[in-house]
Subunit: 339 residues, 2 copies
DNA sequence: CTCCGTTGTTAAACCGGTTTAACTATTGAA
DNA sequence: TTCAATAGTTAAACCGGTTTAACAACGGAG
C-alpha cells in the first residue's frame, strides 16, 4: 500500500484550520496570527508536507522553471566547455529559489523554433536564455510573439525587447593580438567561428581592429566551425599560404589545440615557428605541449548573473542590461617571438 | 492588451461541444464520433490551441518531465564528453513524446540527496536517470523511499529495484590491454578514476583481469579523479617508479591527453618510449600528437535507450534490463611496440 | 450602548485540464 | 411494438494549490 503524499487539505485538517490559512502561512502573507501560523507550520512539518508544484503551477499560472535551448550538433557540444560551466552557474542560483532548469538539445534548424514554441505554448517554462546569438536573430521575434520572457547573452545586433547580460569577448582577443605584436609578430592570422554567430563575428572583429590599432595590415582569416576537425583544416589552409603567418589567433581552444597539432604535422614547431592562442581556457589548455596561451572567460559567473536577471524579469521587477568583467588573456607557452 | 491563451473551454465552445469531448478527442480516446472529432480538431487548429501542461499535470498527477541530477564539480563537468552526448540522446527520444528534461547540477555531497528529494516531493519529474553509480549507492534507497521511478546506467553492486541499461566498459579496456600485450608490452600501468565510482572501479578491474589473462603480473595502478591535473600527476608518479611502465591505460581521454603531455615533459616520447590509451573517444583524441588510441563509447545511444526504458517504466509497462553493444577499441598513433 | 474599524479566519471560486457516472439517441432482436 | 444493448455526449467531480469576498470577534470612540 503506497502511502499517498499528504496534500494541503491534510495539513489544514491536522492544524484545525482551512486550506486558505495554510496557503497564506506558507507564502508568508499577512492575515494569520503568529499563534495559528506556528500551529500550521508544525502540522506541516509533522506530515513532512511540501506544496506540490503542479497545484501551485496551475493556480499561479507559472511553471517555476527556466528553459535553455541548445541548438548544436552533439559532436560539437561534447567538447565545448561553455555550456557545462554556464549551466552550473544557472543552477547555483536556481537552487536557492524554487525554480528548475529545463534543457532542450536540438539539431540546428526548424526543430529549434519548435522547441521554443513548445516551451512557451505548453507553459513549461517562465522564461528562457538566449545563447549563441545570430545575425538578425529570428528568435527574438519568435519569443516576442509567443510572449515568453528572455535574457540574451550579449547584445543582439537588432532591436531587442529583452535585457542583455554581456561579457565582452573583445578585450581578451585584443590582448592576445597585442601580446603577439609585442613579441614581434606581424603576420597574425585568425581562425574564426561561423560568422552567422555574433560571437564568431565579434571575435573576428576584435582581432581585425586590434591589428589595425597596431598599425598592421589585416591578416588572413579562415572561417571555421569551432570543431577540432575544422580547426585543423583551417590551420592547414593558413599555413599553406604565402607568406606564411607566424601566429594564429583561434576563436576557441578546441580549434587551437587541433591547429597546434596540425602545424606540427606540417613540420612546424609551436611556439618557435608558429605562435597560437585559444579562447575559453578549458582545463586541457594548461596541459597541452606547449601549454596553450588563451583567453579565459567566466561562464559560471555569466550563468549566475543571467539567471538572476531573468528571474527578476519574470517577477516583474525593473531590470537593466548587465555588463560583466570582460575576458582576459592567460599567458602560457604557445606564444613566443617569431624566429 | 495581451491576448490570453485559449483554453480547452474556448475550443469546446467554438466546436459546440463539452470540455470532456475535447479532451477525449485530443487523447485519441474512443467514444467520440469521427464527425465531432474532426470538428473539434479544426476548432483547436483555428484557435491555435494546445493543452496547457500545467492543467494536464495536475489532473494526471504527472509532471511530463524526467530528471537528471549531475553531481560533479563544474571544472570536471566541463571537459567530460559523456553528459552532452548522453543528454543529446535523451532529448532525441523525448522530443517525440511530450516530455522534457529537467537538469540539476549540484556539488557532490548533501546537496545531491536534497536535489532528488526536491524533484520527488515537488512532483517536478516522473522519473530520473541514475548515473555515476557508486559503491553501495545510497541513492537507490533514497529513491525507493520517495517512490520515484528510475533507471540506472549500468548495474549497481547492490540489490536494486530499478531496471538497468548497461554498456559494458570492460571489453574496450580489455581490448586495449590485449593490443598492448600483442605489441610486446609487459609493464602496463593504469590510471583509474575514483574507486568509489563503479565505472572507476570497473575499468580498473577489467584492466587487472586482462593482464591476468595475458599471464602478466598486475601492473602499477594510481587512482586519480578523471581531471587533467589528476592525470598529469598520476602519470608523473607512475613514470617515477622502477621499473618504469612502458604503457599506461587511462580511464578517460582527458587524463590520457594530460598524461601524454606530462610524459613528454619528462623527456619521454609517445609512443616510442611510452604507449598510452584513453577512454571516451572525445573529438580531440583524433587531433592530438600523436592521435590517441582510445576506447569509443556510445553515450548518445545510451541516452536514447535509457530514456525509452524509463518512459516505459513510468507508463507502467513491463521492462527488462537492457544490454547495449559494448565499448570497442579505436587504434590510433599513441601505441607502439616498446623500444 | 451603538457604531465602526481592525484583525483573523473561512468558504468558495478559480486555474486548465481529465475522468466517469449518467443520460440520450439509435439500432437490432424478440 | 417493446425492450435491451450500444454508441455518442455531457455535466460534474476532481487534481492541489491560490486568491478573495464575506464574515465573526473584538476593542475603542462617541
Amino acid at each position: 500500500m503506497p502511502k499517498k503524499k499528504p496534500t494541503i487539505a491534510d495539513v489544514a485538517r491536522r492544524a484545525g484550520v482551512s486550506k486558505g490559512a495554510v496557503s497564506l502561512t506558507l507564502n508568508n502573507r499577512p492575515g494569520i496570527s503568529q499563534d495559528t501560523r506556528e500551529r500550521i507550520l508544525s502540522a506541516a512539518a509533522e506530515l513532512n508536507w511540501q506544496p506540490d508544484r503542479r497545484g501551485r503551477s496551475l493556480a499561479a499560472s507559472r511553471a517555476f522553471a527556466l528553459g535553455l535551448v541548445i541548438a548544436r550538433p552533439p559532436r560539437l557540444l561534447e567538447a565545448d566547455p561553455f555550456f557545462p560551466a554556464f549551466i552550473a552557474g544557472v543552477e547555483a542560483v536556481l537552487a536557492e529559489r524554487e525554480y528548475t532548469l529545463v534543457l532542450q538539445v536540438v539539431r540546428p534548424g526548424q526543430a529549434e523554433a519548435d522547441a521554443y514554441r513548445n516551451l512557451a505554448r505548453g507553459g513549461r517554462v517562465d522564461g528562457v536564455f538566449l545563447s549563441d546569438l545570430r545575425h538578425a536573430d529570428p528568435r527574438l521575434q519568435l519569443l516576442a510573439e509567443v510572449g515568453l520572457p528572455a535574457v540574451t547573452l550579449n547584445r543582439p545586433d537588432v532591436r531587442s525587447p529583452f535585457p542583455a547580460v554581456c561579457l565582452d569577448d573583445g578585450p581578451g582577443i585584443a590582448a592576445a593580438v597585442r601580446h603577439l605584436v609585442e613579441l614581434g609578430h606581424t603576420r597574425i592570422a585568425h581562425v574564426s567561428g561561423p560568422s552567422r554567430f555574433l560571437h564568431g563575428a565579434g571575435r573576428a572583429r576584435a582581432w581585425r581592429q586590434a591589428l589595425a590599432e597596431a598599425g598592421l595590415p589585416p591578416g588572413p582569416v579562415v572561417e571555421s566551425d569551432f570543431s577540432a576537425a575544422g580547426g585543423a583544416a583551417a590551420t592547414r589552409e593558413l599555413l599553406a599560404g604565402h607568406p606564411r603567418p607566424t601566429a594564429i589567433v583561434y576563436a576557441n581552444d578546441l580549434m587551437a589545440i587541433a591547429g597546434q597539432t596540425a602545424a606540427r604535422a606540417m613540420g612546424l614547431s609551436v611556439p618557435e615557428d608558429l605562435s597560437v592562442t585559444g579562447f575559453d581556457d578549458c582545463e586541457l589548455a594548461a596541459y597541452m605541449h606547449p601549454p596553450l596561451t588563451t583567453v579565459a572567460t567566466n561562464a559560471f559567473g555569466w550563468g549566475k548573473r543571467a539567471t538572476a536577471v531573468l528571474l527578476d524579469l519574470i517577477e516583474g521587477e525593473e531590470v537593466a542590461d548587465v555588463e560583466l568583467p570582460p575576458t582576459r588573456l592567460v599567458l602560457r607557452g604557445s606564444t613566443a617571438p617569431p624566429s
